[in-house]
Amino acid sequence: MISVQGLGVTFGHGSSGFQAVADLSFEVERGESFGLVGESGSGKTTVLRAIAGLIPGVSGRLTVAGETLGPKRSKRFRHLVQMVFQDPFGSLHPRHTVDQILSEPARIHRMNDIKNRVLRALEEVGLDSSFRFRYPHQVSGGQRQRIAVARALIIEPEIVLLDEPTSALDVSVQAEVLNLLNHMKRERGLTYMLVSHDLAVVSHMCDRLVVMQHGRLVETLAIEQLRNFTPAHPYTSQLLRASEGYDRAAVETLEDDL
């Protein structure tokens, strides 16, 4: 469904250029949940933005659903691929009502019966019709992220790119949003690419994952390797150890450069 071959992303030009992602390759199957894991600055979000076509400086070969991607994304691509961002406060227009937010993508893609689509999209993410004419500041953080999910799904995409969709939420709200995402995936047979720094979230959501560090691929893991704590690479083992809670003795075994 998604094929990434030798992906590179450079910010800036010439000697001051910064190589954020280098020589990255992986394949995502149809209907799979694929995780991208790494610490801050590892380039995981940059990979997602490169696929979505949101940043310049991308090299390598990207193929999505048989279409080789050029510098500009086609309308077909945008119908196929949608994205949910990390910060529900920053990603919804503060002066648009929920109705405007949800109907805009449907209008762009020339869909009919927009009003009913909006109502159905709200219902699917567990919000009733009373939310339709509210502004983003009038709903809670979790409800806002539900609206962002509804906006991504209203045009019936096949692939959803999820960039830390729950890291700004309380754990109880995180559980609701993760359940919603899993439910929608089962209903519609979606393909997910999930970026997260939280190994527990990735373990819960994904079938396979890649671990990144300093813009490069560390390893590709089947989810069982993560759940059984048997990764191949020492960097992944260290991430796992550090994610297990505080242990004074284990801290001494952490190394800065693996």
Binding site: E39, S40, G141, D170, V171, S172, Q174, A175, E176, L178, N179, N182, H183, H197, D198, L199, A200, V201, S203, H204, M205, I223, L226, R227, N228, F229, Q238, L239, L240, A242, S243, E244, G245, Y246, D247, R248, A250, V251, L254
Partner: protein, 281 residues
């Protein structure tokens, strides 16, 4: 905890009057703090940060603080003069904030900021302050203290910035450190290293630590004792290592809705909030 507490709080209330009525952020919190690591956990809006801030008299704007007792080492913090509070703040009780990016002065070098924290509270000479600042940088395990001393905050990483904050807060050797989500902005491995530094300071120098966090697993593994807060009240107090046997339905609900690395459930338990939890106890 079998010694006299260094800090004793009884029936603490923090209220913010608004045109739409009072917002009661903290409602009747009581606890004693010994030479220990006390965790305060809760979700956003539970009042955990306001509890920490109220101790230091750092409630913003029109907020009103009320308590039956707020006693630090024999000093009544409720009616303490601004002068008394200034002598306590930073010197005997200090606070580490979440994000070093906003808590460090961007136009003063790191070394001078740490020195300043020392000079404000002692009548030491400049040279001595510099020496102490260097020692502190080494104590928080910064490998190249000379370089970091002359660096500006934007030239250091987030983990380094948080170590610098800790160095700054530790230099007057306070009795209590209040750390409000000190590691939430950091990567997991750096987070563990920063916690180890705090842990060692508490054990080696006999300080007390109030550790405010939303992360139950972290608090359970790091602290000695935990207060669980909801809607401005303490729901439950437990030994940290015993947190996973918590009895209160709110604590249980929070623990159960966490995804786990080693388990794959089809769906996560969803926290059902009982309105009775928010009733005044």
């Amino acid at each position: 905890m079998n010694e006299t507490p260094i800090l004793s709080i009884e029936d603490l209330h923090v209220t913010f009057p608004t045109p739409k009525g009072d917002v009661r952020a903290v409602r009747g919190v009581s606890f004693d703090l010994g030479r220990e690591k006390l965790g305060i956990v809760g979700e956003s809006g539970s009042g955990k940060s306001q509890t920490g801030r109220a101790i230091l008299g750092l409630i913003a704007g029109r907020g009103i603080v009320h308590a039956k007792r707020m006693e630090f080492d024999g000093i009544d913090l409720r009616n303490a003069s601004a002068q008394t509070l200034r002598a306590i703040r930073g010197n005997r009780i200090s606070m580490i904030m979440q994000d070093p990016k906003y808590s460090l002065n961007p136009v003063i070098t790191v070394g001078r900021q740490i020195e300043e924290a020392y000079l404000v509270h002692t009548r030491a000479a400049k040279a001595e302050a510099r020496e102490r600042a260097m020692e502190m940088l080494k104590a928080v395990r910064i490998r190249n203290p000379e370089r970091v001393y002359d660096a500006y905050p934007h030239e250091v990483s987030g983990g380094m910035g948080q170590r610098i904050m800790i160095a700054m807060m530790m230099i007057p050797e306070p009795d209590i450190i209040i750390a409000d989500e000190p590691t939430s902005a950091l990567d997991v491995t750096v987070q563990m290293q920063v916690l180890a530094i705090l842990d060692d300071m508490v054990t080696q120098r006999g300080m007390a630590l109030i550790f405010i966090s939303h992360d139950l697993n972290l608090v359970a593994s790091f602290c000695d004792r935990v207060l669980i807060m909801y809607a401005g009240q303490v729901m439950e107090v437990r030994e940290a290592r015993d947190l996973h046997n918590a009895e209160h339905p709110y604590t249980r609900g929070l623990l159960e809705c966490l995804p786990r690395i080693d388990a794959h459930g089809e769906s996560l338990a969803v926290l059902q909030r009982d309105p009775a939890w928010a009733d005044l106890q």
